[in-house]
């Protein structure tokens, strides 16, 4: 059973963009798109740096993706799958929003 940890407030998130956070010792990226929060590994496996949270969010044929800010590969926000390279995938983490209205916090599952 994955253990959820509180990472930040929903008000810290930026609409349609990502922010960086630490989950235990792992840098993760939190994206906030259309009211939904997505958590992915922040480390760009191709560019080899912790930068995914700074990528641009968008869609390719309806599929929500984030583009690596280094070399512009796209990753599926839901599955972490790299669109350009089937062998590359980012770890994704389950997210829950908990708390009273106005005080909602982002909880992420630690594997």
């Amino acid at each position: 059973m994955a253990e959820f940890k509180k990472v930040c407030q929903v008000s810290d998130l930026i609409d349609n963009a990502g922010i960086p956070a630490l989950l235990g010792n792992t840098p993760i990226a939190l994206f906030y798109v259309k009211g939904q929060v997505y958590a992915l590994d922040n480390f760009d496996p191709i560019g080899q740096a912790s930068v995914m949270s700074r990528g641009i969010v968008g869609s390719i044929k309806g599929q929500l993706v984030v583009a690596s800010p280094l070399y512009k590969e796209h990753y599926d926000l839901v599955t972490g799958q790299c669109v350009e390279n089937p062998e590359v995938k980012l770890a994704v983490f389950a997210v829950e929003v908990r708390g009273a209205a106005g005080e909602e916090a982002v909880w992420v599952a630690q594997p």
Binding site: I14, A49, G58, S59, I60, P69
Partner: protein
């Protein structure tokens, strides 16, 4: 054993022959030696006159550096061939070298004919064929006020343009009763004459020059057969060409009665081992004074050397050109020499447009045409003629303006695959389609793949329309659309934003797009919002649109840290500012470098440190250098008249003023400028989007230069400007670029894709042909007035500084960033160094 092939002459056609041979499969069968009489490898004579508007001898070269060496071709310059022994199969050079051949190709070209007028060898009586001639013209112009061209044909008018560019009062003297007697009829020539006179060039037709003698006010006086005379300092002969066929005499090859080495359809001379191509060759009684037929001959010989049947069966002499800004075209037989031929003429007096069609007796086929003042129909008409296509029922509709009914033309689809689109490089519709098959998607690709449009440029419109049509046919909806979210070009989005007043990406997407946007359209729209409204990149609603560099107002490095580049206008910096940069760099352990843009960059800043670094810099008088933005980067300058003994004007002051005026203006791609204090050009202004060079007569303005992956020399745009005009032109130029360029097109790429090219930009910016100059200036002024330093705004607003953190929930550094000390500074560790876990400096 390889076949010994000798080529005599390294001019346009000689080189084209080698270029085509190198690409052919049989190339390796030959051992090739080339003799050239000139001191340099082949260059572009067609564009010789651009030498006077800023091009250099290197720009004109047709031979990529190292091309001959790379292909093992032995090229010997400065070596004239003086004899051929066709029995021994040897050539002899002026220096006495004898070399034997199996096959010989003569490509010796022609020389300018100088009429036997007494006095034709006086001082400053010159011809116009080689780069050396250009240099002599430049020298002669320095001591001249008035220049006369003898000969009013195509080359003569081109030469008159050169004299105008050299700053002379210019005249053209023509023996025949009209200009361009070969290509134009009377009506067309009359319109051309009026237009050229309006440009301040004297035109004197029906004038036979009898003698050139001492003048009273000027160096010379031309005395004409009718007793009139004309004073001038400088005479340029352009009275036709004569083939260079001296070698044929010595070798005993058959020549034409009026010169020219006779060749057959295989381009063979009367000796089966000797070919002749280009302007030295006489085919079916014709010497072709244009490059395209020469190229066709070169191709015919290459094909035969590759054992393919090939023939040269004559060539079309249609031409379209711009003479001193006047559009002129001639197709087929414009004189209607065929007795039964019928003609249609359209003349628009006020607009000075003249068009004539010559059609066959049955009205079905086009025989010839003349177009002066408006050559838009050229492509259409030429294709009708070349492909022998049937004319529409009312042929006159082909030349009537479109408001007088539907314009009849034919879609690019009607052209057969064999139709030649570009005659300079013999590019057919099929060639274009093959290039598209290989992945070309825009005109720049087509140019690179096929060389189409890179000669005289006359085919650009046609090539573009066929390309667009073919792309559309492939469902590549001529992907003018920027991405899947907007069915618009960047230019169209720009107009939508400006006209409808959209302030945000979401408004624009809701009204004109679909889906969620992406990393293509979002930054493009962010940049447009910046260009139109000076929208602040760091506004919360704009942040999701920005590339990471714009989002954090710094360039992200490979390890996720950022660079800090403050603006140093004109490269001028005080010692105190240098000390401050040093202190900041030391305190934050930043790697420090003088960068290629004449300023100082600090690398390796943590995201979380950016606001404090910048507030210290701003307190010390710095502002953002916008090195992260698609905007003005630097204005490089030399030291100029303040210190330099050659400086003509204050390049530093101008660079600072330019930088301060245009800083922060968002554009389709980054822009760079340079200012040099004299023609020694220490600031490399001619490699910049906007370059300015001081001269005795004022500032010379250059545009559309580029370093980077595809270097491009800037084009001379205007000369002798005062400050006010200079800024006015630059305002208009930049705004026009911003409005019309595609995303991520530098000014150079923009220009190369722009229909009408430099001349069109000149018309819009200098002559205000679209009537938008004032508007462009106002739009620029609005941007200048609303400028604010990105970083000052960020550090002054706690809501914004709050956004610079490494982790939203921990005040820690990124554990992935590991450093090594090298040459006294820190740099990111390589993957290997991380693995070997050698001693690391962790910050």
């Amino acid at each position: 054993m390889k076949i010994k092939l000798i080529v005599v002459g390294n001019g346009m056609v000689g080189h084209a022959f080698l270029e085509r041979l190198v690409k052919s499969s049989g190339f390796h069968d030959f051992d090739i030696t080339v003799f050239g009489e000139e001191s340099r490898v082949a260059y572009d004579r067609v564009h010789l006159s651009s030498y006077f508007s800023g091009k250099t001898a290197e720009d004109l070269s047709l031979v990529p550096v190292g091309f001959y060496a790379e292909h093992g071709i032995d090229i010997r310059l400065n070596q004239k061939v003086v004899a051929i022994d066709k029995h021994a199969k040897t050539v002899t050079t002026q220096a006495g070298l004898v070399m034997d051949y199996d096959l010989l190709v003569l490509a010796t070209g022609s020389y300018p004919f100088v009429p036997p007028i007494p006095g034709n060898d006086r001082e400053a009586c010159l011809v116009y064929r080689t780069i050396e001639d250009l240099e002599a013209m430049k020298d002669a112009a320095q001591t001249s006020k008035i220049g006369v061209v003898i000969g009013g044909g195509l080359l003569g008018l081109e030469a008159a343009k050169a004299l105008v560019d050299l700053g002379l009062e210019s005249h053209v003297v023509e023996f025949a009763p009209r200009l361009m007697p070969v290509q134009l009829d009377e009506g067309g020539a009359a319109v051309l004459k009026r237009k050229i006179q309006q440009l301040g060039v004297g035109v004197h037709t029906s004038k036979a020059t009898k003698v050139i003698e001492d003048g009273e006010q000027s160096r010379h006086r031309l005395v004409f057969a009718d007793g009139e005379s004309l004073e001038t300092d400088f005479v340029l002969f352009s009275a036709g060409i004569r083939p260079r066929d001296e070698l044929a005499d010595l070798a005993g090859l058959v020549k034409g009665p009026r010169g020219g080495i006779v060749i057959n359809d295989q381009c063979l001379t009367s000796d089966p081992h000797i070919y002749a191509i280009g302007e030295c060759a006489l085919h079916d009684g014709m010497i072709y004074g244009l490059v395209a037929p020469g190229y066709a001959m070169a191709q015919a010989v290459v094909d035969q050397l590759n054992h393919k049947p090939a023939q040269f069966v004559g060539a079309d002499m249609s031409t379209k050109l711009k003479l001193m800004g006047v559009d002129v075209a001639s197709i087929g037989d414009p004189h209607g020499t065929d007795e039964d031929a019928k003609s249609y003429i359209y003349e628009n007096g006020p607009k000075e447009i003249y068009k004539k069609l010559v059609v066959s007796a049955d009205g079905k086929k086009l025989l010839g045409a003349v177009l002066v003042g408006d050559t838009e129909d050229y492509g259409n008409l030429l294709q009708l003629k070349l492909n022998d296509m049937a004319l529409p029922e009312h042929p006159e509709q082909l030349i009537l303006p479109s408001f007088s009914g539907e314009k009849v033309g034919f879609g690019p689809d009607a052209l057969p695959l064999t139709a030649q689109l570009c005659s300079c490089y013999d590019v057919s519709k099929q060639d274009l389609i093959s290039a598209l098959d290989e992945g070309a998607t825009c005109l720049a690709d087509i140019k690179a793949c096929t060389q189409a449009c890179t000669g005289c440029g006359g085919c650009t419109q046609l090539v573009t329309s066929v390309m667009n049509f073919e792309l559309e046919k492939r469902g590549v909806a001529v992907s003018k659309a920027i991405c899947e979210h907007f069915p618009y070009t960047r230019q169209e989005l720009y107009h939508l934003v400006r006209v409808n007043g959209y302030q945000t990406f979401d408004e624009l997407l809701a009204a004109h797009g679909e889906g969620d946007g992406c990393d293509i359209c979002k930054p493009a729209v962010a940049s447009i919002l910046g260009s139109v409204w000076n929208a602040y990149a760091f506004d919360k609603k704009n942040i999701p649109l920005q590339d990471t560099n714009d989002r954090y107002l710094g360039n992200m490095q490979k390890d996720g840290t950022y660079s800090v580049i403050p603006r140093v206008p004109g490269g001028e910096i005080t010692p105190d500012k240098l000390i401050l940069l040093g202190e900041v760099a030391k305190d934050y352990q930043l790697y420090t470098k003088i960068n290629g843009g004449q300023r100082i960059v600090l690398f390796g800043a943590q995201l979380s440190d950016l606001p404090t670094i910048w507030s210290r810099l701003i307190d010390g008088g710095f502002e953002s250098g916008q090195a992260y933005a698609k905007a003005l980067r630097t204005v490089k300058s030399c030291v100029g008249s303040t210190w330099c003994r050659y400086g003509i004007d204050d390049s530093v002051q101008l660079a600072i003023d330019l930088e301060n005026r245009y800083k922060g203006v968002r554009s389709p791609h980054k822009m760079k400028m340079g200012v040099s204090g004299c023609t020694r050009e220490c600031a490399e202004a001619q490699a910049k989007d906007v370059g300015v060079i001081a001269t005795e007569n004022g500032w010379n303005l250059f545009v559309c230069g580029n370093g980077g992956m595809k270097p491009r020399h800037a084009d001379l745009f205007a000369v002798g400007l005062d400050r006010e005009t200079l800024f006015k032109y630059i305002d208009r130029f930049i705004m026009f670029y911003i409005q019309t360029a595609d995303r991520l097109h530098r000014t150079s790429t923009w220009l190369e894709n722009l229909e009408g090219g430099l001349e069109y930009v000149r018309q819009v910016v200098i002559e205000d042909s679209l009537g938008i100059a004032e508007q462009l200036e106002q739009q620029m002024q609005a941007l200048v007035d609303s400028y604010a330093c990105d970083w000052k705004r960020a550090v002054d607003d706690p809501e914004k500084t709050k956004l610079f953190y490494n982790f939203v929930n921990a005040d820690l550094r990124d554990p992935n960033q590991v450093y090594v000390r090298e040459r006294g500074q820190l740099r990111p560790a390589t993957a290997q160094e991380r693995l070997e876990s050698i001693e690391l400096d962790v910050v």
